[in-house]
């Protein structure tokens, strides 16, 4: 890091925070603080939705995933456009018509206060725990890269978000996210462009040819396999339920489109998210492919997390690691020659030569992967830390191979992405705590000013909780893995409650309340006692709530009609 990097880093972050504070200083009502006066145009809604979903880990891990596993992760998003259409037809008009602050408020008008409170409780548990991870994951990576203590990176992200979310609420969140996403995508494309520029003698079209030949363009897999996380069926079915839950029942997203100036602006925001999300993920994944191609011609490190590698090299495992590194270097030397041959053969349309080189490269890649796996095991033995190297592929490439100034910009992007998703989550936690719990059940008759002030304190409280959780979580890796799937443990049940509310007029509040508790118990049992992929939890939870609610309502009706006959 050189002075120019620090100037760019602090300049970008400072501008975002100041812009957020200045542009939203007039938000002194609940309407202003929690839903931005419902004044946002559709493009701000759309960018805000996209920035909320794309956390720092999206921009750090997704290129690393493509580098390691190709582009099949894209299929995960195929259900998203379908979810956008369904929500535009169902949820958006209802939420807008009722002028709710939170999605859970609607459940009281449809059922009663206990169903609303249960849904708000589920949301607060899942989002309260995961906001800590939203702060923790980039804090850990940035602390590793910058050599800072994790407490410092956590406090940096948390305090910057606190400044503008407390000052300007939802409006500040939406307005800053618009520019954050523009800067993030601009910086990512710049990084991808530099990676491409550094690949010798290859046109952009030829990068597709090369990547396809070595098996990296595995975009669609039609084979139905429940144990395979990424195929078109899991994307369309499990993904549809996941995104219906996330965009329809998670206040972090509902709060974003409730800020739209009208039902039209909210709908267009969601529709354009449906149109743009998959291409955006394609671009991010393809940046990972360009980094992969760059490393076909430039020596890659055996382990991309250099801080962990350096620590391991100070232990007894150093000799073994050095030997593995030397073998990896030899493999790379041969791979570079074969890569040059493949590129030449593809350009000359020499299919026979291309096939020979391609087979050899795939073989060398497999050998290299074997060495990397052994190295990861050795590093784990040496340091006691599990190596999640995919998270470090892109950021290590940035730190090692990009020019100064751009490094500062890319680090600003990581901070910005962490801040934008954290801001939405804090705003959603605040809305739900303030409106569904505090205003509904604790202090019911105060004036607007009181609730705005309370909301600001609640935002501060959740932000401090997130930071404390992130610092605490850094000492317990198992905790992080458990918390990572907490969303899927509650989303299905939440979605079941909302689908019942939207579509099945027959079902009343007691039936859905009991069904939600049973549904949640089933999901928790599946999680504890089976190995089913967690993407399917959403479907199970949703189906259980709808199914049990129908059965319970039927039994209740029978009992009541039997009672009335007696």
């Amino acid at each position: 890091m050189q002075p120019i990097d620090w100037i760019v880093l602090f300049g970008v972050l400072g501008l975002i925070v100041v812009y957020g504070v200045v542009k939203s200083k007039d938000t002194m009502s609940m309407e202003g603080f929690l839903v931005g006066n419902r004044s946002m145009p559709w493009w701000t809604v759309c960018l805000s939705i996209m920035a909320t979903q794309a956390s720092a880990v999206t921009f750090l891990s997704t290129p690393g995933q493509a580098f390691d596993d190709g582009m099949r992760f894209l299929q995960f998003y195929f259900g998203l456009p379908l979810a956008m259409v369904i929500l535009c037809i169902t949820a958006v008009p209802i939420y807008r018509k009722l002028k709710v602050f939170t999605a859970y408020e609607y459940l009281e008008s449809r059922f009663d206060v206990k169903v609303r409170s249960l849904a708000a409780f589920f949301f607060l548990v899942l989002r309260g725990l995961s906001v800590g991870i939203t702060v923790f994951a980039p804090s850990l990576i940035l602390s590793t890269i910058l050599g800072w203590r994790i407490e410092v990176t956590t406090a940096a992200i948390g305090s910057m978000v606190m400044i503008y979310t407390i000052s300007g609420g939802s409006k500040a969140v939406s307005l800053t996210q618009k520019y954050q996403l523009m800067i993030i995508m601009g910086g990512m494309i710049l990084a991808g462009g530099i990676a491409f520029y550094k690949i010798p003698d290859m046109s952009f079209g030829e990068t597709f040819q090369y990547a396809g030949n070595v098996g990296k363009l595995n975009l669609v897999n039609f084979k139905f396999d429940l144990s395979d996380r990424y195929n078109i069926w899991s994307g369309l079915l499990a993904g549809l339920f996941l995104f219906l839950s996330y965009f329809g029942a998670d206040q972090s997203q509902v709060g974003r489109y409730l800020a739209g100036a009208s039902i039209t602006e909210s709908r267009l925001g969601l529709i354009f998210n449906g149109l743009l999300k998959i291409p955006m993920q394609f671009i991010i994944l393809y940046i990972g492919i360009l980094v992969f191609l760059f490393y076909q011609f430039n020596q890659p490190p055996l382990i991309h997390n250099r801080s962990l590698w350096d620590r391991a090299m100070k232990t007894d495992q150093a000799e073994t690691l050095r030997s593995l590194e030397s073998n990896n270097n030899n493999i790379f030397s041969e791979k570079r020659i074969e890569s040059g041959r493949l590129a030449t053969a593809l350009r000359a349309n020499d299919e026979q030569a291309a096939e020979l080189s391609r087979d050899r490269i795939i073989q060398l890649e497999a050998e290299s992967r074997g060495l990397r796996d052994r190295a990861k095991a050795e590093v784990f033995n040496a340091t006691g830390e599990k190596v999640s190297d995919n998270d470090f592929v892109f950021i290590n490439f940035v730190m090692t191979h990009l020019p100064h100034g751009v490094i500062g910009l890319l680090l600003a992007i990581v901070f910005s992405a962490a801040m934008s998703s954290t801001a939405s989550e804090l705003n959603a936690l605040t809305s739900t705590t303030a409106v569904d719990i505090y205003k509904r059940s604790i202090i019911t008759g105060a004036d607007d000013r009181h609730y705005v002030l309370a909301s600001k304190w609640i935002t501060a409280g959740w932000a401090l909780f997130a930071m404390a959780f992130a610092i605490w979580a850094s000492n317990d890796e198992n905790l992080i893995q458990r918390v990572n799937i907490v969303g899927s443990l509650f989303y299905g049940t939440l979605l079941g409650m909302f689908l019942t509310a939207f579509y099945i007029k027959y079902i009343k509040s007691n039936a859905v309340f009991i069904a939600a508790l049973i549904g949640e118990a089933i999901v928790l049992s599946v999680w504890l006692f089976t190995d089913l992929a967690f993407l399917y939890y959403n479907f199970i939870g949703c189906a259980a709530v709808v199914g049990f609610a129908l059965v319970i309502q039927f039994i209740m009706n029978q009992a009541s009609s039997a009672g009335s006959r007696v």
Binding site: S39, L82, C88, G212, I263, R267, I271
Partner: protein, 40 residues
């Protein structure tokens, strides 16, 4: 305070147009990505 704008969305006569657009773009993307996958 905001005022709800008219229901009619820009560019299409009804919302159905937008929904079809999203679905058609999704199908086109799946076809293009399948062609890319199968061409190597």
């Amino acid at each position: 305070m905001s005022v709800e704008s008219p229901e009619r969305p820009p560019a299409f006569k009804s919302w159905k147009g937008w929904y079809w657009l999203v679905l058609i773009v999704l199908i086109v993307q799946i076809i293009v990505y399948s062609l890319i996958t199968n061409s190597f």
